[in-house]
Symmetry: C3
Subunit: 354 residues, 3 copies
Amino acid sequence: MTEQGAKIKEFHSTGELASFLGATLKGSPEIQITGLGTLEEAGPGQLSFLTGARYAHLASQSNASALIVPPSFAHLEHTLLICSQPDLAMARVAHLFSKPLFLNEGIDKSAHIGSNCEFGSGVRIGPLAHVGSNCRLGSSTRICGSCYVGNDVCIGDDCMIYPSATILDGCQIGNRVIIHSGAVVGSDGFGFVQDDKGRHQKIPQIGVVQIDDDVEIGANCTIDRARFGKTWIQRGTKIDNLVQIAHNVVVGEDCILISQVGISGSTKLGNHVILAGQVGLVGHIEIGDRVRIGAKSGVPHSVKAGEDVSGIPAIPHKEFLKMLVHMRRLPEFREELRQLKAKINELEKAKHRD
Amino acid sequence: MTEQGAKIKEFHSTGELASFLGATLKGSPEIQITGLGTLEEAGPGQLSFLTGARYAHLASQSNASALIVPPSFAHLEHTLLICSQPDLAMARVAHLFSKPLFLNEGIDKSAHIGSNCEFGSGVRIGPLAHVGSNCRLGSSTRICGSCYVGNDVCIGDDCMIYPSATILDGCQIGNRVIIHSGAVVGSDGFGFVQDDKGRHQKIPQIGVVQIDDDVEIGANCTIDRARFGKTWIQRGTKIDNLVQIAHNVVVGEDCILISQVGISGSTKLGNHVILAGQVGLVGHIEIGDRVRIGAKSGVPHSVKAGEDVSGIPAIPHKEFLKMLVHMRRLPEFREELRQLKAKINELEKAKHRD
Amino acid sequence: MTEQGAKIKEFHSTGELASFLGATLKGSPEIQITGLGTLEEAGPGQLSFLTGARYAHLASQSNASALIVPPSFAHLEHTLLICSQPDLAMARVAHLFSKPLFLNEGIDKSAHIGSNCEFGSGVRIGPLAHVGSNCRLGSSTRICGSCYVGNDVCIGDDCMIYPSATILDGCQIGNRVIIHSGAVVGSDGFGFVQDDKGRHQKIPQIGVVQIDDDVEIGANCTIDRARFGKTWIQRGTKIDNLVQIAHNVVVGEDCILISQVGISGSTKLGNHVILAGQVGLVGHIEIGDRVRIGAKSGVPHSVKAGEDVSGIPAIPHKEFLKMLVHMRRLPEFREELRQLKAKINELEKAKHRD
């Protein structure tokens, strides 16, 4: 009856899993696996995994009933599923055991649906959700309970909009996009002009937000609509919780933005950029492809493709590390300087005596 | 029928816009303007603007059908609307093209309204919104869908409370206030006393939040209620997304608080204070009028009116800039110190030889 | 009829309060106290308190009708409630005057309740709230209006879930837990593996969040569910607004996490840890019991029990303070170095002249 009942099997045998993964099985194909765990925490009936030598000591002691390992660990005494990328394999297995948030089929009768909407097949809308007028939802997209989707919103296929997320008027969402609870997409950009009395007059924000395929937006993120045009998150980018994206920002493809990052207006990121936690970027700069920015850094200027930068203000990461070493040795420098001074005084006195 | 249908015109002619702005028109008054854009992005039918020499090279290449420019650019070959403050003019025009979030007239039948409320004329309340008991809403105020307004809340005229915002019991909101989605106004202040077992006992937070006229509160901000009395945001202050305002904080008039700022309990800001992104202020300090605090700074003490400060901990901005230069040159100092030491050793040896 | 009508008295006499607190009364037992305030703000009819000598000058001028004071201030001329811990006493009195957010008895008819739930006696569920299927709510627990509680959620006794909070599927909440508005408990952890095209493939997050007794979670916090197993907040820990807790983090007992803190995945905190505002911790480290971390610090490695650390990256707090002093004196060092160089040049010239 229920989605969960239909889709989730309670267990998978080691033989089934080996075949699902295209892995080489060493040991019994009949062991029933009912869940997953870390090497330390997994118990009987659970599957765990080892990616490399660093955790090998934990593998030998693990109580897991089976392990996914790379070929270099084929000698372990556990039941083994041997394959070249154990982390990727583990992620694939986790999907088998993952229960998607349950939503009844169809549209809950307590949801509010505006006029003139077009919904693809298999759309599910949860209790007390709001979908405005003139919206298009692609097939199999889910709007969970207590979400707010405004007017003129277009969402592609196979999207998951978690409970209590808010997508405001006119925003455009691609396919397979995941938006977590409490995220706000399409709030006004922060723009004012001062009038002659020094008061801040609002600049209307008449643009939208566009989110491309395979993007994930974390819980309680805020993504502002553009002043004109669009704020744009491109394909495959993954955004952690509580991140702020200001108006007219462009984030390229396959970027990773860790929690509590803030990006100011009109800044542009290339592809495969990584921003560590609590990084802040000023507005109107460009961050090149594959740039990595260290945690808590503040970036006041553009950064060229491929660079690693850190610090407040951010400088090349290697220079930053050297600077830190020198900063910690400042008291020592100070003492050396004092000693040199004393010696020079001595030398000067000696000279005068000559 | 609908609000949008009633208020939004699809286009405005250059002649109408010149007259609306009190601008001097150079060129045809008959060009139909259907939207706005930046100099780089605006295309046919769109209006753009130029504020000064910095972007003049973009103006000459712009595909916009007309430009708002200051008198010093009256020589450009585009159709021009010439006026003294192009940025203010552009903001005014943007209002003409801005579609306010659509809300049907009156109170949606799926909204929950408590007892004993008084609503001014033209109040609109969206689907699945909650307004508690004993609330007063001024005329033309809008509570969008999925908002939560608690009991004993008073909101003035012409306010806009965006979807999924939360205003808790007893809070007082002025006129023309805008509160964005996901903002929480009136959560408990963070206050505990340790009992003799070292456990944290909650101090009830029995005060409220007062927000004065013309304030704007960003998406997913949190503004805590006072322990006693009130947390107070004064007239004209604009707050970006994800800002934290603790209990009993007072923010003066016309301040600008950029995204992810945090202000600790009982701190007081004067008027026209600017806090850049991710700034943190400790509790129980005073920040004078017109103080500006650089991005990511941490401020552990009061700051006098008119000062600019930066850094962790914050120091006068000019001193901060000098310190940064010296920090980057530390490896060089180190090398100089090493060389001096060698020279002194030589001198000492020479002396002993004498 | 209403909860407030039943529980809240409008005033308490000084005699009643002395008896409630076990305090020694000096002065009239007949004074009617109608509210609380700070020494500076409390007026006639209000009670205030003094904890020590620091604010004694304010006490003598206070307009409060009565003061809670320690025995060392029994000489003050106000009506006094004398007891050993005035701050704890004040918190206890504040509870008498605190109006809990009003909720009608029972389950509002506009709430959505799934199937197969078990509710203890005195459970209240507000308008437009969502409680999924297979949930257990302990006695006297309140789910306020517009909350979202998912499926398979277990919440203990006497909990308060404020409006617009979100608790996702499978999470486990203890007794007397308070969760503030906009908080999200159980969002997906942020975990991806790169496939051979460099694209980020989602690792399903199949664990839960467990929150133990007497925990308080601030407004708009995000607490991610575990990859496997659980993210775990232990008894008595208090978390301020906008804090990020990543997947598989363990926070010990009686910790204090100030606003805008971020804790990365799998990091473990001991008991009585204090993280000041905007602190960031990397993943997979251990923070010992009673560690205190200064505001805005970034912590890249484990910290031993009892240590105080500060800075980016964090170092022992005392060393950090010394380093700051030396940093501010860098221009001075520079100048000294320049002078020494000049003197050495002189000495060298002199030597060559010899």
